[in-house]
């Protein structure tokens, strides 16, 4: 069984059930409207709106991305998967699915957010896009690996953000910093180090994930 076949299977079952998509869309709408209500008629600063953008993304990711492995565990299909495919294939397939999900979700968040928040104006759009792409890849990798860990533990729902937050923290801090710089309109030369940190994070995480997934997956 190839990673692509696993991805197609996940996509087909997702399109049939629409579990993750529906709950994610509703979650994004709820989170953004809570922020809008709590702001009311106040004028918020640019930097705050940039930070809140990543708060919405973090919590949306935490609500939807654990499905990749938890659903296999709930349906009892883990053993079958263990029999027909190698751990690397499984992880590649799940990671690819989560990547698509993260990108779709974050593009929706970014569009909604820039439509609803007047303070969220990006002066250096290409810089933000670079950060956005690298950040999404990092979020997808880390959250896929943590999802595979919590699928084996009890109290999955609460454990997921608890375990993911420290792992995602260096990524989030750099992304918030870069978003602020993109809103200030800094050039690529000044933000080069932050972008390099994001790149390093992605590479380190993907290497560690593929090395460690074997141990999580094999019972």
């Amino acid at each position: 069984m190839s990673a692509y076949a696993l991805f197609k299977k996940d996509l087909a079952s997702e399109l049939r059930m629409r579990y993750a998509i529906n709950s994610l869309i509703m979650f994004i709408v709820v989170t953004i409207s809570v922020i809008l209500f709590s702001i009311g008629n106040e004028k918020i600063s640019d930097f705050l709106s940039g930070g809140l953008f990543w708060v919405v993304i973090f919590f949306s990711a935490m609500s939807g991305l654990s499905r990749a492995f938890v659903s296999e565990e709930e349906r009892g299909t883990t053993l079958t998967l263990q029999l027909i495919a190698s751990p690397t294939t499984i992880f590649s397939g799940k990671l690819f699915f989560n990547l698509i999900l993260v990108f779709a979700m974050n593009i929706v968040v970014a569009l909604l957010y820039s439509a609803l928040f007047d303070a969220f104006v990006l002066k250096n759009l290409p810089l933000f896009l670079y950060a956005f792409v690298l950040g999404n890849i990092g979020i997808a990798i880390a959250s896929t690996l943590i999802a595979s860990i919590i699928a084996k533990a009890s109290s999955k729902g609460t454990l997921y953000p608890v375990l993911s937050f420290p792992i995602l923290l260096p990524l989030m801090l750099t992304l918030i910093d870069l978003t602020k710089q993109a809103m200030d309109g800094t050039t690529f030369e000044t933000s080069y180090i932050e972008l390099a940190v994001l790149g390093c994070y992605d590479v380190v995480m993907i290497a560690a994930s593929f090395l460690l997934f074997d141990f999580i997956w094999k019972d």
Binding site: L145, I149, K152, A153, S154, S155, L159, V162, L163, F165, P166, I167, L169, P170, L173, D177, I193, E194, V197, C200, Y201, V204, M205, A208, S209, L212, F215, I216, D219
Partner: protein
């Protein structure tokens, strides 16, 4: 026995010397510390706060090393060693956070100001907390050992970002930050010989103390496991 007495004398000497040796503008005697601009008497915390922060990382490193060993050999003793080290790391992490916050109140004017160093010690605290939350959520012994080993390795991979990268690229108040001009990289040139000596003695003393605590801790945990198995 002999090294326990040695450790006692070392820690006593470091505590007394670190607290009582005076800080003067131009050190003339062997027991006088130099004045570091912008730090003054506050500088003395380096003998106690830095070793606890150092041990937080050392304990985490040891825990990761034994996690890797566990994944290679699947020997439950390695998992117990890793877990004991993580418990000690949590204690030292809390100590480093609290001493740092108290020091910050006097040096910077507030207990907490999200300086990059404070952010990184907070992240370490969260990692340790998450590790214990994960351990309590898995019942089967082997599964718990495997999952917590994997998590501590993946968390350790992010630690260099917190400890080495963030504090250097972000602006902060902590001595040694990216834009630090007045207090400088303290360790490099602002400390004189005797201050450096006592600082490193303190590091050595605290590290031996950690090793001793870790040894007693994992031995007692092993005996507890053995007794549990005998009576069930």
């Amino acid at each position: 026995m002999i090294w326990k007495i040695f450790l006692f004398l070392l820690i006593s000497f470091v505590s007394i010397a670190g607290i009582t040796f005076p800080i003067v503008a131009t050190p003339a005697h062997w027991y006088e510390f130099p004045l570091i601009m912008g730090l003054g008497e506050n500088a003395k915390i380096i003998f106690f706060h830095v070793p606890t922060a150092w041990l937080t990382v050392v304990a985490f490193f040891m825990s990761t090393v034994y996690s890797i060993k566990y994944l290679r050999n699947k020997d439950i003793v390695d998992d117990i060693k890793a877990h004991t080290s993580a418990q000690l790391g949590m204690i030292f992490c809390i100590l480093a956070t609290v001493t740092g916050a108290v020091w910050a109140k006097f040096a910077w004017g507030s207990y907490w100001s999200w300086d990059p160093r404070q952010t990184s010690i907070f992240a370490l605290l969260l990692i340790y907390g998450a590790l214990f939350a994960l351990r309590s959520a898995v019942e089967v012994e082997e599964k718990r050992a495997t999952l917590s080993s994997v998590y501590s390795i993946i968390a350790f991979v992010t630690v260099p970002f917190f400890i080495f990268i963030m504090p250097r690229i972000m602006r902060g108040l902590h001595p040694g930050s990216a834009d630090d001009t007045n207090a400088g990289p303290v360790v490099n040139f602002k400390m004189n010989g005797n201050m450096l000596l006592i600082f490193f003695l303190s590091l050595i003393g605290f590290t031996i103390l950690y090793y001793w605590m870790w040894y007693v801790g994992y031995k007692s945990m092993l005996y507890k496991e053995k007794l549990n198995k005998q009576y069930h």
